[in-house]
Point group: C2
Chain length 335, copies 2
């Protein structure tokens, strides 16, 4: 590939450097706060240290340097998932979501052309989330929203989220599903590390599977929806979902056909599985995603995506074409 | 391939046609009972109909006909997983497990050379399960045991199961891990169908991942352990487990290296993913498994495994070589 072929990184997180005060005592134990001491910044959730962050999370200078170094033309910014705040009252969560959305909007405005944004909405209240989508597009110039792989323990395919999906389809807002508080972790004692490494991708697969089996993608066929961590483990269970679908009478599109209308990021750290996913399971539907700027992120993304053995069209797709289609900008570029 | 190349099907279930009475009132609500009316047989768990079964589950005549029709030389028999009975008192569970083991032993004896057996042990009491293993091998001629993907909600990598794994390694008993009562289903309301289709393979991946991250395979490096449903979704998350392992200092073997010492059945209903799994992710470690005789089973297994595009060594491996190694009979055949 030409070194000029753009890279678009769809899985990149941000976090505000400061937060408003908790609106009332009840929310305080789950409210974020940045604890800054010299060069160290610790994002606290209530009185619990959640993650060490540096200014790559809120400023654009180092971020742009890193993008230039890595050949990333555009980063698609989404909130650190813990900020999605499904565990707060919807009114409180909306305040926090809008704080993240404002930050993303500022970062987009600071470097024209280099960023797109996926905002946050309080999806524990689907109607409220639906009402916010037009504002996110018009006031904040966001391309879509990031949502959790489950919403406070509820599966994404639950029909109660339909008003949100309907509004996203209507507004043409992309949806990026990111692992968050895996359902399985509520039922078994596991370490935070095991949850992040093993349960994150399994929860993403569970969310995607529930959207498929509950028919959400049949109800909203123009939805542009993408999944973190390569769709988690979805690619490994589509055959079984198809077998069950056949046993139930083969109505509508098969699960694997539905999966090929979704998008998946490349964030699997495994050239073998990624080649299988991007070239055979869901061809043309995988976009670059690195998890920048967190320690686990995929480094040298250009080297990674170019090394997995895709043909030229496959490399173009994973480098930028799938991302543009996901973001709703595909038509502009395909001329 | 020559049509004479043997097929060994490692994922085949049986169930007794009758059960002893519940030993006491406390166990009755979770005790199995066969309710037979004319041609219909319903396995009840307590007063709850669990599954319709026919005589393929306990007799060998039709089973052998089906095997001959399908070119299956050997079936490896394991109990219907619901009979593993981790939810009963260990003494009661042992009685039920031994009832299944006796049935498997009778079926093996009824058709010499055509069956192998994977028995049941009350793994909610690991020491008790460990003590039973020598009897299972000597009295019942079983090659190993079937266990759940979690044990009453506890992860397989939990060190409390070490006495069992130590005994299995010592006795040379194979372990077949089968999806059962997925952990995630305890934390979210999903249908039985969704649980069986989507959560079964995710729970298998969770169990396998916990064995890897908790170091069980490092403590018991000679264990022969296989996983149902193609290892569930494990193949899709190994890159992420490896990335975490590198971040933690790369001690011992990487998760993907450990995975290549495990076995996986072919029961994924997807030639694309199976080819990726069997030829690239865990080459040589996949054996045929159909889920016979249940409605979801893989039909025409010879056609299926021959059609996925493996080279000759790969086809031989999935047809019988990996199964023989898993069963501890590899040395006899490799001469």
């Amino acid at each position: 590939m030409s070194p000029m072929t753009p890279l678009i990184d769809v899985h990149c997180h941000v976090a505000p450097s400061t937060f408003p005060r908790a609106p009332h005592e009840r929310a305080a134990s789950q409210w974020p706060c940045m604890h800054a001491t010299g060069s160290s910044n610790t994002l606290m959730i209530g009185d619990r240290p959640f993650r060490e962050l540096d200014d790559r999370s809120w400023a654009t200078a180092r971020r742009l340097e890193d993008m230039d170094r890595d050949g990333v033309a555009i980063q698609v910014l989404s909130p650190m998932p813990e900020l999605l705040s499904y565990w707060l009252d919807p009114t409180d969560a909306e305040q926090l979501c809008m704080h993240s959305n404002e930050q993303i909007a500022r970062m987009i405005a600071s470097a024209p052309g280099r960023f797109r944004g996926l905002g946050a909405v309080p999806l524990q209240d689907p109607e409220r989330a639906a009402r916010l989508l037009p504002r996110l597009r018009r006031e904040f110039a966001l391309s879509g929203v990031e949502i959790g792989s489950n919403i406070g323990g509820e599966m994404l395919g639950n029909a109660r989220f339909d008003p949100f999906f309907a509004a996203a389809q209507e507004e043409g807002m992309a949806i990026f599903v990111h692992a968050l508080h895996p359902v399985a972790a509520k039922a078994v004692a596991v370490s935070a590390t095991f949850s992040a490494l093993a349960l994150f991708p399994l929860d993403v697969a569970m969310g995607a599977a529930s959207l498929i089996t509950e028919g959400a993608l049949e109800r909203f066929p123009r939805l542009r929806i993408g999944f973190s961590h390569g769709g988690g483990a979805l690619g490994a269970i589509l055959g079984r979902l198809d077998q069950g679908w056949r046993a139930q009478g083969s109505r509508g599109r098969s699960p694997s056909e539905q999966a090929r209308t979704m998008f998946f990021d490349s964030n699997v750290y495994d050239a073998t599985y990624l080649r299988c996913l991007a070239s055979e399971i869901v061809p043309g539907r995988v976009f670059l995603g690195t998890d920048y700027p967190y320690p686990i992120m995929q480094r040298d993304p250009a080297v990674f995506v170019d090394s997995i053995g895709l043909n030229e069209a496959g490399v173009e797709s994973i480098r930028y074409r799938a991302a543009l289609t996901f973001l709703g900008e595909g038509a502009h570029r395909s001329e």
